[in-house]
């Protein structure tokens, strides 16, 4: 019955890729050839600055807190800020392929309305007035498509043809961001399936790491982190079911938070394997400073998301907790204790990651904090639970979406077609998960007998991945992040060092992982570490993350050899 000409997935993909590039104004297109990774490893900072005016650089290198300090009092206009980030994001995409949707015209119109509001009322719309916010391409925004990297989703709503929600429906987070005065301007790249530590799909191809273009930007919120590293956005939101916020944050030298489930609204957001309830994906902020993460979380909580997302707990930002932690920070340093985990017992981290953890431990120790060697229940158990959970449906969801267009799964994405689990098997998995959570909680609680404060360890420092960024195709072990999802803990990623071919030479071989280590190839790749708290400890972890990072910066600036 159809008179429509058969279009191949390659043609669809090509058209979409072209449409994304076409959304970049001509004046912002890079006309010359971009150097290869061999000639231009790091395209951040001075390299990208060449395309921008001094004023654009000033604006785009401010963090979200500073920007809103200016925009909420009218000293910076929303339009000027928005245009600066649009320009820088456009360049960023041309350098590393980090965007799925570009809607600068919509953004500038929204910014114009914000400026008009300010001019009329002499007050901001909300605490994020005029702040450009980028979003991972799972969030729905009016007037904009959501492909989530699937060719079969082009021109549909989550793969459903003719669904009137296409380009009209908005995710709950988006509604709240608008209320807060944020300006949405682009959506960032994800790997097909979302289940990958690299970002690659059949629409935009591969998103490279802007700090080291030989390597991956990580995944699945990979485009988001790459864009932030290039300062093409001051702040954004990703999602995390196994490490998808933290891995790219660590790989790109930025900050990210994986909150516990029930804290930030996921309502109305596209997802992979939606309805799988053993390990829930969560929404979390990503930004260029720790204090920006706090700004975003506090702002969203002010919107009372629990009135609009049934899975969010009515848990406003707890100032009392933040104050308590600040008092601890300002008090006797030995009363603050950190667990340190150098190795998860499954895969030994490579030299740059080992060094980052060692440096953190030395710093915290030198500040007088108590260090506890972290010896939790075997992480291997968590790793297996996460693997079984992610394959629960036998790959049915992902393969159905691939089949919409006939596109193949990119090699970096790893959802196999296997046997699905039955109800009883899922129940058993849920029981194993709860038992592991219980054993871990008991362990954590038991550390109160080891600390001088008599309280359990305040936070745990551990690797985010075994490697600094990753060589394409070589992401093997997500256990350093996925155990946090199994346990539903709060985890912030803090950038610490960059891999160094001089400092990070391989000494002892671990054939499983270290065979793939290449000191020279990794040189310059960022290493971020995790700072982990218990469930629903967002206030505590964000406060500690800021403290730990500030301390690190202070130490590094006085002893530059450490970074």
């Amino acid at each position: 019955m159809t008179t429509e000409k058969e279009i191949t997935w390659q043609e669809r993909s090509h058209a979409k890729r072209h449409a994304i590039l076409s959304a970049i104004p001509k004046k912002w297109r890079i006309t010359g050839t971009i150097p290869s990774a061999v000639d231009l490893r790091d395209c951040t900072e001075s390299y990208i600055q060449q395309y921008l005016s001094p004023r654009e650089i000033e604006i785009t290198e401010a963090d979200a807190v500073l920007i809103t300090q200016y925009t909420t009092v009218g000293s910076w206009s929303a339009v000027e800020v928005t245009e600066a980030f649009c320009h820088r994001a456009a360049i960023a995409h041309q350098l590393v392929n980090c965007l799925h949707e570009i809607f600068f015209d919509i953004a500038v119109a929204a910014a114009t309305a914000l400026d008009a509001y300010f001019a009329e009322h002499q007050k901001p719309v909300g605490p994020l007035h005029g702040l450009p916010v980028s979003l991972k391409d799972q969030f729905h925004i009016k007037g904009v498509e959501t492909t989530m990297g699937y060719v079969g989703w082009i021109g549909t709503f989550e793969g459903n043809k003719g669904d009137t929600r296409a380009r009209t429906f908005e995710s709950e987070l988006v509604r709240e961001l608008r209320n807060l005065g944020a300006v949405l301007f682009c959506k960032t790249s994800v790997p097909t399936t979302l289940m990958s530590g690299e970002t690659a799909n059949n629409i935009i191809g591969y998103t490279w790491n802007p700090k080291n273009r030989h390597l991956s930007c990580g995944g699945s919120s990979g485009g988001e982190a790459a864009l932030l590293a290039l300062r093409g956005s001051p702040a954004g939101f990703g999602t995390d079911i196994g490490g998808s916020i933290r891995v790219p944050a660590a790989f790109n030298g930025i900050f990210g938070l994986r909150p516990s489930t029930g804290r930030l609204p996921y309502e109305g957001t596209a997802n992979s394997m939606d309805g799988q309830s053993t390990i829930l994906s969560v929404v979390g902020p990503m930004a260029t400073t720790a204090r920006s993460l706090k700004l975003l979380v506090k702002a969203i909580l002010e919107q009372s998301p629990w009135n609009h997302d049934p899975l969010v707990h009515e848990l406003p930002w707890r100032n009392s907790v933040e104050r308590q932690i600040q008092e601890r920070i300002g008090g006797d340093p030995s009363a603050l204790s950190f667990g340190i985990m150098h190795h998860d017992g499954v895969v030994q981290p490579q030299p740059p990651v080992q060094r980052a953890i060692r440096l953190m431990e030395e710093m915290l120790r030198s500040q007088g904090h108590q260090i506890i060697d972290w010896r939790p229940p075997p992480h291997k158990i968590a790793h297996v639970i996460a693997e079984e959970t992610f394959q629960m449906d036998g790959g049915a969801d992902v393969h159905a979406h691939l089949a919409l267009s006939g596109e193949p799964q990119p090699p970096q994405c790893f959802v196999a077609e296997t046997t699905y689990l039955k109800a009883v098997e899922i129940a058993n998995l849920n029981i194993r998960k709860r038992q592991y959570q219980k054993s871990y909680l008991d362990y954590w609680h038991s550390t109160s007998s080891l600390t001088r404060s008599g309280r359990p360890v305040d936070a745990v420092v551990c690797p985010t991945a075994p490697h600094a960024a990753v060589i394409p195709g070589r992401y093997r072990h997500v256990g350093y992040t996925s155990f946090v999802n199994v346990l539903d803990l709060t985890s912030a990623v803090i950038p610490i060092i960059h891999a160094s071919k001089d400092l990070d030479q391989l000494e002892h071989a671990d054939l499983g992982q270290h065979a793939e280590y290449d000191a020279s190839l990794y040189d310059g790749a960022p290493v971020g570490i995790q700072l982990i708290g218990r469930r629903l400890e967002e206030e505590k972890i964000l406060t500690l993350a800021e403290y730990v990072h500030d301390s690190w910066v202070e130490l590094s600036s006085s002893a530059p050899n450490t970074s």
Copy 2:
């Protein structure tokens, strides 16, 4: 290889039933014949009092708050209080078959230790010092068996022979109750499978409603509610996955709370279909007054259950919320608004229940509160989601436990052997559930446009079941309670009236449900209504429940015809 003589399930069951009765001291056994239900419909109050001394009556008819006022200052000894309740519980069991485990000797030993502690330290062990607390037979207590009504669990740990946790392991709630100074003395009856609105199993038989022995005590926390109605215990804990706290509370004229998931600890408690995570069973308090429920919840939260149960949120009792609600109660009455739901659109309540809701509406209106006609998204949807969830494993768990002994499923229990759901089907069910939760939340939030306060409706009043208690074998529709579980709301049950053959004559026939209504048989059966709040609103709902019930008692005593 076994030399053990084959024992039939009937023999095992008979021996266990006999052992339960044998645990009652000879002096407390009823020697004469107990009148039939025809001759003795109501065995509470004056009937049971005949077996007790005036001092025992004084103690056992005090509520948990009053008891702890005396026991925590040493004016009542823990031993005297414990012995009085042991005696009354022993009589109660002989009247209605409400106990699975009787361990009065262990209880008196614990009470003796509490008295010794008080004598030495002149202070109580905790806020529940010397308070007898009964528990539904899902909780594990050291020295005591847990059968959960399964013949195949006798002599095992949850059906596992040789598991060393049998009679040694304790549920987290039990550990916390001990810390608080509570005295555990008996475990109460449940229906086989736990999935029934009546309480019947092949060990103790049928638990009758003490207010009307023609009828069921409800289920699944049926023994608990029957014991409380007979004042054989001042306070206890049940569990609720579809109404299992609220139904028996309503049927027995007592109070019960179904908190939201994540508030009270379920850790280490036996369950049916453990690991099913679409609708989680929750632990909740049951007691003879509303203020006792609050005492129990506050006490447990003081134990920081989140340090020991990974699924409990770190959410201490919020005094600020309690204060806020008390201020609303003391303020302009029209600023407090109640939704009233007379009928869920699926099954029309019988006349006694209709009258209870009508009386509540009239009372709240007469107090000047705003009444909103509750017109939520179709409850039929929730009902179907709950039914599919409860059959998710195709009955595998329940039928495996029945098969341990070869016992048949009692006719009141309704877990069929059907096809299990696959992972994708469970995911779809979870999505449908979340969508229903979202539509209900949106509806609730939208009522802010109807209220004078500009806030959404404070609480919703609705039936607990279509009937007052129930004629054995005639429980049909659990939708009045199960929608609360699907939505994960907070719901307290408040006793209001008793069915009356004079006041509750059938006027309009509804052939589906009302064909089974029998005004004369139901006469005297309690009717309790639900007071429902949003998710995690335990402080609010417990405060409002106390207010609403106190108002009702005041009104009833000035106009006795209403009850």
